[in-house]
Assembly symmetry: D2
Homo-oligomer: 261 residues x 4
């Protein structure tokens, strides 16, 4: 029987508490709506974590127990502590999947994994968006048809300053005339990463049935098969070299010593 | 007439001042030997900068005046200030080339651009290394033949924890039995990045004629053509949308306001 | 319960019938030894097909019933009919995995999928090969340790004229001094492709336990999840455009007509 | 002084001779209009070649004398002889740039270099297209602003069945609601490849000033620096191995013999 995927949805949970309209749309917070979307029909175990919790809810134990981390952040990127970010990165490299949603293009973990600015252009006009599927057989694009539409959404436009994606799953068409690479994948270390554009605090995007389906698809795609590996940069002693080796010349380190970092 | 490429060689300049043997091999510091290698036969303007200078010698003015930055660091990666790192990253994204040498696989700028751990295995035994050219017509591999050898070198071995390179220019064979992706390229933003393995404090690697030739080749390859661009993540007002657009629905930001970061 | 993967091992079956030594090592033909290696411990359904069968054993029905095709060819690449090659390509694009072994770097399907010459350098001296794992957590590299060795093998050396792989799983070290990208992955259409270097007619490579393990790993990695898709290049009538559209200007094709090919 | 780039524009030259409307728009043939666009302001030497000439005008001598080949074809892809295609491919691998225009997504050389079907969806309704620049500093996108528009054009839509591009330079927005990766780059062997969507027989696309500018930019980007290399798959004799090597075990080939192809 296939292993159950363990999902953690992280939400910064700021606007939901400070903005009446956001609270109205997402009364339990966006993270809970996103978590419900993923649990729906899959029976997956989905937990949530928020900025306000100790260690932002992302303790070592929680991350160890997470196969896929979904990230929603917008107003408080700068408040996420670097120590937690490092912990998230290490788990991604080890094999945890990461799904970065909408404004998480500017979140610390995503920017660190990309190594670019991750900027874009944007407009809030409640316009129509149509997401085209670039490969109908891609596991993330299953069962959404050749495209799906969001009637009212924020616009994100090119240039989107990312490294060339491994695969482009969705490209968006906007009523106002722009386009955007809305679904992109990368691998960093052993972690699979999916960026997915849809989402906004004041539109009910995470109630849309196609968005929810893509979230579920993406969780299944991003989950590792359970094998974890992260490097330790070991010194290999000369006497353990695969080929017999006579040491010659000087050295900077003693045998058994760690390298500089 | 082609523009003269402006090169800055950054060296941490630590072991040269504290280790007798390193001082003996590189009496002017490794950065100066590397700078000479690049200036040799090219007439390029090559400046140097070191950790000990104010702002590590990498002021905004110096970086603005740099087309390609060459980076040597080893013992003092952690001493490089984050503000300077951010400035280097911004210039890479804008178009400056970056050549990371040997132990710079663990330097802050390189790790930030890769988004991975950049670890490897290693051994100091003064063994032989043979660097194979994976594409003889690649600009970085010109005029070094099908391979070149270093008689005495530190070993770096796989797994090398990097994102899949755009191109692999060199793969090394080591006497002790390991292999390594010794010459790799990536693009981040508009900056071209080249990682080149050879180099060590206590072997005269940067006097080797093939290593010096590769350094010159790489500088020419990495130099941008002078056009700079970096994104600003602008808000596009609805009335400036390419297609006529009626604003509908609520907004999180006012027109003209900046987005969250 | 996970779907059983259906594997077809194709072998050209030439040297096994014409060369005494090859027959001695692979009395049932190399394809059967490879098929046994894949079936071993997995209980997978593995069928074989050979050059000499009608349509080389790769009828539409066989390919339809194949999730992963393993290809061994060497002396008779040119005898594989183009019609069969086209059929293989279409199934790869639709989602069938392809594992190309050793001299299959020059097989028609592999060259067609790569779009390059796929050349390399080579030597038959029965030398030692050590295959290093570039990412220990990669599904194809499971349970073989940091490296494995083949005591006697043909050498393949760089430059290997392939497009930049999506991932490099193995790099080989050869006793005679060369290196080679021995395990590489690509995706073309929806098909996952793995090139694996080990193999030779007159060395018992396909009896090696690590080689056999990699074959099994690769079959699991390359198998699609059953969803198939291949494009048809459809004309979209103006009246079915997602946005209301007034046709203006002349046309080359009538509505409903197919495009040129 | 930089070397002058030698450009050959290949046109199938079919509709220009058989369709009154096409002849009216492109009285000298599309290839000549494209050639003029490239020569304009650059002073480059641009020659043309057509399907109807002996060897389609692409003799070994012409290709040897070509740094960048621009390809227009639509109705007669199937009439291009395979021998000429092989010659074009070999020159690309050796370093010649290739620019495939519009319907050349289905041309033999482009499909062979991609290794995929290269299909898409399409509609002829004379609708508006807006091409967005995904990286304003990319050499191919210089001086066209954040986007440019074509008032009346054929639509090409996703899914576009290509391997993941190295870089995406343009993405198109269509009035009818579709999107398309309209400017993509790859490298195969040493040849740089650019696919550029705009173009149609019955719209005056190749008179558009931005399209013409992109053509010139692309020619400069795709041109190699003159170094050529193509592999020969040589056998390396054991006595010429970089490391001393005792031959052991049997062989399939004699020393000096060529491998199978």
């Amino acid at each position: 029987m296939p292993r159950k995927i363990r999902v953690t949805v992280w939400g910064e949970n700021v606007h939901e508490r400070t903005n009446e309209l956001v609270r109205h749309i997402y009364p339990q917070g966006m993270h809970n709506t996103i978590a419900e979307a993923i649990a729906e029909k899959t029976g997956l175990h989905v937990r949530t974590a928020t900025l306000q919790q100790p260690q932002h809810g992302l303790t070592r134990r929680v991350l160890d127990d997470t196969d896929v981390l979904v990230w929603w952040g917008h107003a408080a990127h700068g408040k996420v502590r670097d120590r937690v970010v490092e912990r998230v990165l290490a788990r991604v490299w080890e094999g945890m999947g990461l799904i970065a949603l909408h404004s998480a293009h500017y979140s610390k973990p995503f920017k660190r994994l990309m190594g670019t600015t991750c900027s874009l252009t944007w407009r809030e006009a409640g316009e129509k968006e149509r997401l085209w599927v670039c490969n109908p057989a891609h596991p993330i694009a299953r069962n959404v048809g050749p495209y799906f539409e969001l009637p009212s959404t924020e616009m994100y436009g090119e240039p989107f300053a990312i490294p060339a994606p491994d695969e482009i799953v969705f490209i968006s068409w906007f009523q106002g005339g722009e386009v955007f690479r809305s679904g992109c994948t990368w691998k960093r270390g052993n972690g699979k990463i999916f960026y997915f554009r849809p989402g906004h605090e004041v539109y009910p995007i995470y109630y849309d049935k196609n968005v929810r389906r893509v979230l579920r698809n993406a969780v299944h795609w991003a989950a590792s098969d359970g094998v974890r590996w992260i490097d330790s940069c070991p010194q290999v002693p000369a006497r353990k070299a695969p080929e017999p080796l006579q040491v010659k010349g000087p050295r900077m380190h003693k045998e058994g010593q760690k390298g500089f970092r």
